[in-house]
Symmetry: C2
Subunit: 197 residues, 2 copies
DNA sequence: CAGGTGATTTAACACCGTTAACTAACGACC
DNA sequence: GGTCGTTAGTTAACGGTGTTAAATCACCTG
């Protein structure tokens, strides 16, 4: 039997409200300013309510991280349906990575524990991260089928180069124009993709 | 009559003791476990004493970060005296970056605000970071003299690729052998250096 | 009406960074 | 000797954190 909704919000609404609020505060004031009490205030509840939805702050951050990887997974899928050429595919996926980091920096930060957005759970223990890795690895493999080991190395290299340029651009955003960083990113990723064949 | 059990230490000794202790705790338990009180306990003083030496925790972390960049500066200098070939120079400097991150991960973390080692002060405002940047830029310039803008882009690219591989290797250290990461690092940096001429 | 049940809050604990107020020891001067 | 100022070091406190146990309140059922 469905209970009557006293509050105009369903359980799922409240849950996602907590996540949205956390991200909003993080975007405005940085992750280190995100506290359970501040989130509770914003959603007009008391602090312990947050623990009805998330076992700890750590799992809340982990959920947001997974949300980020999940979004990337979707977008990668979209690209795979749009293009057939492996070169085009990998390059477009690289661009998605960049755009994502620009448009939702607070999520990107929590995904890689950047700028005080600490999440103790290791990334690789998440299924969605594994799925994203597999998807990209597959594209690299479709380039030139190589040994599993080689594919793994190339994926590691692609991921690292992309992440390195993105995180460094974030770090230097106040002294180096985003447009210049974006140019270097595009050139570098294009060169990497070309170098694969 | 109870005597003072605390060893008489000079001001400079105490100061560096604080920094060493902070790094030791960070190495053992991670940066998020480093607190002023814990440091004070370890050096057998009360918490406010730490503030006699550092205005805030932020300043303390910034000092440790600068110490890290200062070490790199020294090592880069050593390389410049050892080799004349620009290609060799840049490659060796890349290797120093890697070794440093492996041997003193806690310092590397605070240098780039990784893994909860948050330091609010922006890196580029530090003179020593500027000096390190200039040194590497000079080497890149000695390769093929190009426009200031091009040098800047190449330095940004070198720094990002190196940092990307290092931070990703750190992140995946429990599921991907360091030796494999090191191999990819060496190959990638070698390829980058070769590509410059 | 009484009782139970689930949602929600209050109060508390043990920490955190940071600062003000206090104490104990020491040397200088009268 | 006694009084002062200085200094090193402490304790105690403030407002904040994540987290949990206990208390409260609104509602449905018997």
């Amino acid at each position: 039997m469905e209970t009557i909704e006293r509050k105009p919000r369903s359980r799922e609404q409240t849950r996602s409200g907590i996540m949205v609020t956390a991200k909003t505060i993080a975007r405005r004031e940085g992750w280190q300013a995100v506290s359970i009490r501040k989130i509770a205030d914003a959603i007009e509840y008391s602090a312990p309510i947050v623990y009805e939805y998330f076992d700890s702050k750590d799992v809340l951050l982990n959920e947001i991280r997974n949300e980020g990887f999940s979004y990337l997974y979707q977008e990668y899928d979209r690209i795979l349906k749009l293009y057939r050429d492996p070169e085009k595919r990998l390059y477009e996926i690289s661009l998605i990575q960049w755009d994502f980091a620009q448009q939702q920096p607070e999520i990107y930060q929590v995904m890689y524990s950047l700028e005080g957005a600490y999440c103790s759970m290791p990334v690789y223990q998440s299924d969605i991260v594994q799925a994203v890795s597999d998807k990209v690895s597959e594209i690299i493999c479709s380039f030139i089928p190589k040994s599993k080991e080689s594919i793994r190395r190339l994926f590691f290299e692609w991921w690292s180069i992309s992440h390195g340029l993105i995180s460094m651009a974030m770090m230097l955003k106040d002294e180096q124009s985003i447009e210049m960083s974006a140019q270097v990113y595009r050139e570098t990723m294009r060169r990497f993709v070309r170098g694969l064949k």
